[in-house]
Amino acid sequence: MKPYSALLRMRFIALLQYRTAAAAGLATQLFWGLIRVMIFEAFYSASPNRQAIPMNHAQLVSYVWLGQALLGLLPWSIDREMREKIRTGGVAYDLLRPMDLYFQWYFQAIATRTAPTLLKSIPLFVVAGCFFGLKPPTSAPALVAWLGMTVLALLMNCAFSCLISISMMWTISGEGISRLAPPVVYAFSGMMVPLPLMPAFMQPLLNALPFRNMVDVPFRIYSGQIPATLHHVIPAALHTTAWTAALLLSGRLMMQCGLRKLVVQGG
């Protein structure tokens, strides 16, 4: 376990160097959040069927801001560094290390997502909370359940992104799949449109897929739409964990196949 935690720590230290980039990122996220909040505000303000909307305006605003704050945790694409490793042959170095390659990548993925997100999200929570209508969690249990579900979501997200990285062992350029994954994550997680507002006929599909756990479920626990009781949280946590296990397993299997035929590029 020790080498993995060292890997995590190293990534943190490296990423925390880029403070200007983080500040620029924060401003960007605030701007985007504001655009989205204003669009939803406009939809709400004149809607004839406001009563039938399954989320109230305050919950929707919190949902948008949480999305902006935690954007970086999502498996948007494969990590650029991993893509470079596969393309340039850096994989060979990773293979030489006395660690399991899959978990080496997995922990790197976790670190790459966590460090910048922590750096960005804390000031964003403060600014959006003070000025732009982000409410605190509805209760202490909601806070705890939300944090727990966010950690589980992170573990699943990284298993997903590793799977995509590993698929590059076959395509090398990796451009293709890495472009197909983001729209799928964007649409089915709730980042695009909060999932309760999606059409009713899509709900069974959305419930079965893993993506809901990345955004929608934790956010609605936060705003109290899903009550933070064991009755609701346990099934959601199990659903996330089951998907994580499935993604981890298929990632490892794929990696084994990939390594058998791997030709290291470059020299």
Binding site: A21, A24, M38, A42, Y44, P183
Partner: protein
């Protein structure tokens, strides 16, 4: 008098473009996936807007096909300027690596070389999708395009394309000072597209003013399209047809001034 073997700027640009396109077609499977991805991204986006309309009914009085006109215009324009000026978008990497030095050595316009450096076919996904949404919206509104209407539509697309191209150039110019590419410029390029997919009237006043007087997207958005959709008096249409190109030209000149100032300021990072 150009010497032997010199070709004019336009011809050179087209040659750059054809090389760039041919190189992208080398990886055909990857290209198809990328095009699909680009189509999927923009297609899903409009489906998302449609889902919101299904829930809320209306957006401050605007209907889905009406918003679709705004959406189509801005996406066509953005795809055009992205296709043309993508080289400026990736330009900071060139400054950082010192590759820009090479361009300075060539006896050709810098803007041309940077613009033509990377022309991405994949962006045609957005162009296609914007066109389809625009066509769908216009036919759903039973809007017969008069000559004035088509002029308004064309002016909207061209104005937006010029504004976005100018923004890409300004973003590249910024890199002469910052060296690092700054994510923050995305707020006005990609953020501007996101914003202008809807009529600007739905936003708060300060925000509307920003996208009218600082970045003149309003001249490609509410001003012409509202006239187009509501058949307003020809006189105001005429005023918009005159004002929009002026606003776009002013904005583009500001970007070009920033670019030349940047080139003068440039110190190589070495390599």
């Amino acid at each position: 008098m150009p010497g032997h073997g010199h070709i004019n700027g336009m011809k050179l640009y087209l040659r750059y473009v054809s090389i760039s396109i041919r190189s992208q077609l080398q990886h055909r499977a990857s290209f198809v996936m990328m095009l699909l991805g680009s189509l999927l991204t923009t297609g899903i986006e409009f489906a998302g807007i449609a889902a919101l309309f299904a829930r809320f009914g209306t957006l401050r009085g605007w209907s889905l096909p009406e918003v679709g006109v705004f959406y189509g215009v801005i996406n066509i324009a953005f795809a055009l300027s992205e296709g043309f000026a993508r080289g400026f978008d990736t330009f900071p990497a060139m400054v950082k690596s010192g590759d820009f030095d090479r361009l300075l050595l060539r006896p050709r316009s810098l803007c041309l070389q940077v613009a033509a450096g990377e022309v991405q076919l994949m962006r045609s996904g957005r162009l296609l999708q914007g066109g389809v949404v625009l066509w769908w919206s216009l036919s759903n509104l039973h809007l017969v395009l008069t000559r004035l209407g088509s002029a308004l539509l064309a002016v909207a697309v061209v104005t937006a394309a010029v504004v976005f191209t100018a923004l890409f150039i300004a973003q590249a110019a910024l890199a002469f000072w910052t060296v690092e590419s700054l994510e923050i410029m995305n707020t006005v390029t990609y953020g501007g597209t996101e914003t202008a997919q809807y009529p600007l009237t739905i936003y708060r006043p300060w925000f509307r003013r920003f996208f009218t007087f600082v970045i003149p997207i309003a001249f490609a958005n509410y001003l012409p399209i509202n006239l187009l959709l509501h058949h307003s008096a020809p006189l105001s249409a005429f005023a918009v047809l005159c004002a929009a190109p002026i606003a776009a030209a002013l904005f583009a000149s500001a970007a070009m001034i920033a670019w030349s100032a940047g080139v003068r300021h440039y110190h190589s990072t070495g390599s």
